[in-house]
């Protein structure tokens, strides 16, 4: 298809918690991606960075920061901020540049270093700031994930055992991923023994924040063929659609949903609308997908995503899980990288890390984690402020 681009290289700095400057993680990931692609740095014509909001000015201009760190060579730069979807939006910018014929090969890179504990809002009396309001009233990030999880229990009959089984599944496969931060094989007993944070979610149901960096080298199909990589995995679709008014799900940091009281307005769940454009753009359906990397900020959220991606009818993701269908070797493996459960979240790198995993899987290079015969993979993530993305990679 004419709107596809090739993924020539993928690279990641391992995830962890060191507190080093984010630039070094991004540079390590970029160098690995360049080596993997066999593309000299000087041939890269466009650097598209995912921004980080936690590292001062260099983070706001991440594209330029990474280009300078790798050595100025005249490439044009871009920086994208789209919360958890920053990496996908940076990839979309590179794709646009390539499809417009303005560049042949681009580097897409994101990296972050993260603080410990809650991300607390600015102080004072600031009721105009929804983030201030919800913390003042005692509503934290886990509150939202727990509300979604509890709704699954009451509506679909999901259980604490199901949520723990997601953690056990992801930790088992993540233990085989040298780039993952948490590589211990946890048991259901370990999950049950961890502290309750926001009922029904325990500490081990909720993902941590991590340091990390991920990068891709992407090019026109013509360039890929020219260097003998015409069969490289391709980006077949990128969806970065915003929500449609009115929201049916209370989203962080809001205290309420939109009202759907006006004539002609229906309530929509943002997560479930995200993959629609991706499927349409790729010209495929959920039945064509071999594996998925989804944003498991909590164990229960992985089950929501499976239904949002239409890999299972609404309310039936737990049945897939219990059947082993979402595990490595199952019908539709989900999060064979180990997911956020094993990585923790490094915001501007995470959407790219999902694509790195799909790239290795589609090349058959995932080793112990390999999904046999994988041809099509999909990613999904959602972050703050109406940002989210779903990317389809094919080979």
């Amino acid at each position: 298809m004419s709107n596809e681009i090739a993924i020539l290289g993928a690279g990641m700095h391992p995830w962890g918690k060191w507190g080093h400057n984010f630039v070094q993680y991004g540079v390590a990931a970029a160098r690995e991606a360049l080596t993997d692609a066999g593309v000299p740095w000087r041939d890269v014509q466009f650097v598209s960075g995912g921004a980080t909001m936690r590292c001062g000015y260099p983070g706001y201009v991440a594209g330029a920061t990474f280009a300078q760190a790798l050595g100025w060579q005249g490439a044009e730069v871009n920086t994208s901020y789209a919360a958890c979807a920053s990496g996908s939006q940076a990839l979309a910018a590179a794709r646009n540049k390539i499809l417009a014929g303005e560049c042949e090969v681009a580097l897409v890179v994101g990296a972050d270093t993260t603080p410990k504990g809650f991300l607390a809002p600015a102080k004072g009396y600031r009721p105009e700031d929804p983030d201030w309001v919800r913390f003042y009233l005692g509503i934290t990030n886990p509150t939202y994930f727990a509300l979604y999880a509890r709704r699954r229990m009451d509506l679909y009959g999901d259980t604490l055992d199901d949520f723990a089984a997601v953690k056990v599944k992801n930790s088992r496969v993540g233990s085989k991923n040298p780039r993952a931060r948490y590589r211990k094989c946890f048991t259901a007993e370990d999950v049950a023994a961890s502290a309750m944070v926001a009922d029904p979610l325990r500490l081990m149901d909720i993902c941590a924040t991590s340091d990390g960096g991920a990068a891709l080298i992407v090019s026109s199909m013509e360039y890929a063929r020219k260097i003998g990589k015409g069969d490289a995995p391709r980006v077949s679709a990128i969806s970065t659609v915003t929500p449609t008014f009115a929201s049916s799900v209370v989203e962080m940091p809001d205290i309420a949903t939109d009202s759907a009281a006006a004539d002609g307005i229906e309530a929509h769940a943002f997560r479930s609308t995200l993959p629609l454009k991706a499927y349409e753009e790729a010209g495929i359906g959920p039945e064509d997908v071999d594996l998925a990397e989804v944003y498991d900020l909590s164990t229960a959220l992985e089950l929501d995503w499976i239904e949002d991606l239409r890999l299972a009818p609404r309310g039936e993701a737990a049945a897939l899980l219990r059947n082993g269908d979402t595990a490595l070797g199952g019908k539709i493996p989900v999060n064979v990288s180990g997911g956020l459960a094993c990585f923790g979240e490094a915001v501007p790198a995470q959407a790219l890390a999902q694509i790195c995993e799909l790239t290795w899987q589609l090349r058959g290079q995932a080793g112990d984690r390999q999904v046999e015969g994988a041809k099509v993979g999909i990613t999904a993530n959602q972050g703050l402020f109406g940002h989210g993305s779903s990317v389809i990679i094919s080979r």
Partner: protein, 144 residues
């Protein structure tokens, strides 16, 4: 509880009556409700009105979901010593077609709640200052 006067934790977001209401706005053109109040622009993509009326929202609704807070949140939350976990619910308001979050009154645990249960809005202490007791809206199972 002390003899201090009651004051809203956030000024103008709810009435102080015995049967309190949240105070929102409604777009005069399309009828969309807003909480917190919206007075400048309508967020309905099919409406460009800038005309809003202040309205009291329904004070009962159905549980959309619920959870609790087992760990002390950071500031600006003001925690009692020692910290006591509390329950939280999102409640769907029928007329307004929206879900509003809030704490659930003390003594009600997640084991007492279920999606679809009817709840009503009450006022309860959020924290004390030197001068007054700051109250806010909380949800309470409706006595049948």
């Amino acid at each position: 509880m002390s003899e201090k006067p009651l004051a809203p934790a956030i000024e103008g977001w709810h009435t102080m009556a015995a049967k309190p209401h949240l105070i929102g706005t409604q777009c005069a053109a399309c009828g969309t409700y807003f909480f917190p109040k919206q007075t400048l622009y309508c967020k309905n993509p099919g409406c460009d009105s800038t005309d809003f009326n202040e309205v009291e929202l329904s004070r009962t609704g159905q549980v959309w979901s619920y959870t609790n807070a087992c760990y002390q949140p950071p500031e600006p939350f003001v925690a009692p010593e020692p910290f006591e976990p509390y329950t939280i619910a999102g409640v769907q308001l029928e007329k307004e077609q929206m879900v509003v979050l809030g704490q659930v009154i003390k003594g009600v645990s997640v084991d007492d709640l279920k999606v679809g249960m009817t709840m009503e809005l009450v006022l309860d202490a959020l924290h004390e200052t030197e001068d007054d007791i700051k109250v806010t809206w909380k949800w309470q199972p409706l006595a049948s």
